[in-house]
């Protein structure tokens, strides 16, 4: 009798296929609503272009502070996009359905955060060289900067996903999200800009990049655990 009651008549979906489905669906939805995609990118460009206008257009200043400007702008624009990570899905009920999928929530959240990085973080990395040229950075610095952003922006997305999941149930979680997350972003920022500074000073960047890589591995493996737990709490309170 019990065997008949269990859902076993159809082919179950493997966890990799389920993760792929989450990524594909999120990319599809993002490309149908390009404003979500363009907002962080435009914000990133505007912040970077305002610095030469507002502080100083001098080549020496821009060359010295360019990598810092790009990193801060990337950090703020990631922060701006974080609220969307779970909010829409929470409001329309797809998040409930995600949590109820018979798959490890850890891996589904990992896939979801990866999709978030693909639509918000990766475009920043791709746009960064253009803006870096505008800020008079040298070729070698630009390459290192892009490499640090490539390693660093997923860290920002993954750390941010914990905050986004925690503040989901709150009506005005935006400010709290920033307060929670910015302190955790500081080490990434320091090592990201530190790598570029070291490269510009002629020092070896291997150790810096190794540390950034360690941040990436830690955040990708640990943050989804916290996010999944936070999502369950947020859904319990809704």
């Amino acid at each position: 009798m019990t065997a008949k009651l269990q859902a076993a008549t159809t082919v179950p979906v493997g966890v990799v296929a389920a993760m792929g489905g989450v990524v594909r669906r999120d990319l599809q939805a993002s490309f149908r609503q390009p404003q979500d995609l363009l907002n962080p990118l435009l914000f990133f460009m505007m912040v970077v272009t305002l610095f030469p206008l507002g502080v100083s257009p001098e080549e020496s200043f821009l060359r010295q502070s360019g990598s810092g400007i790009l990193w801060v702008a990337a950090l703020l624009s990631t922060l701006l996009s974080l609220d969307h990570l779970f909010r829409h899905d929470f409001d329309n009920g797809t998040l409930e359905q995600l949590v109820l999928q018979p798959q490890p929530l850890y891996l589904l959240v990992l896939a979801k955060t990866l999709a978030h990085w693909l639509v918000t973080g990766l475009p920043l990395v791709l746009l960064a060289p253009v803006l870096a040229v505008m800020l008079h950075l040298e070729g070698n610095s630009i390459a290192i900067l892009c490499l640090t952003l490539l390693i660093g922006t997923p860290v920002l997305s993954f750390i941010g996903s914990v905050g986004a999941a925690l503040t989901l149930g709150l009506r005005s979680g935006g400010v709290l999200l920033s307060l929670l997350i910015i302190p955790l972003y500081i080490p990434v920022l320091i090592f990201g800009t530190g790598t570029v500074a070291a490269a510009a000073g002629g020092a070896s960047v291997g150790a810096y990049l190794a540390l950034m890589g360690a941040f990436l591995v830690l955040s990708v493996t640990l943050a989804p655990f916290a996010s999944a737990a936070a999502l369950r709490i947020s859904l319990s309170n809704s």
Binding site: Q6, T10, G21, L100, P102, L235, S236
Partner: protein, 211 residues
Amino acid sequence: MSKPLLQATNLQCERDGRVLFDDLSLTIMPATLTRVEGPNGAGKTTLLRILAGLNENYSGEVHWLGAPRAAQREMFQRNLLYIGHRTGIKAALTAQENLAALMAGRHAVSAATLRAALAGTGLAGYEDVPCSQLSAGQQRRVALARLLISDEPLWILDEAFTALDTHGVAALERLLSDHAQRGGAVVVTTHHDLEVPGMQRIRLVPDKVAV
């Protein structure tokens, strides 16, 4: 005598300092239809979310096929179909993409099956229309199309009849009683007059519970 699918004992839930229900026990047997009743704010949705495993702010125990549910969450979720008050439809995706997304991670379904299910809920011709352009009732039909391709024995449906027209209501009633006859279990809340022979009623009254 068959085993109960879902068994909840001594459920107690508080919300914003108010006791919604206390010492509530219920059993969901296979081949039954259970209706949770009560006025607005009595805790119907909360009870359904607890039974679905979405709300964990409760005390008491929930057993799935006789074993604690917490220890077999994936197994439980594989056998549960929950459609909440918020239907789980993304406005940017088309009807078919939404249905595919709702089936994702559960069991493999072909595009033809998805289209047939949508046609079965009266959405033939709307498969590739973004859900933002569909009416509230049509969006709910997209979510309910899952019932047609479901192999899950336990259905938990919150306000399932909302926004449906009279034909839709009749079709859904039939679908629910068919599922119960095939040996599945249905738990619903609705303000619509649902009358099915042999229906179990759980009445939630603010501050006290009568079964």
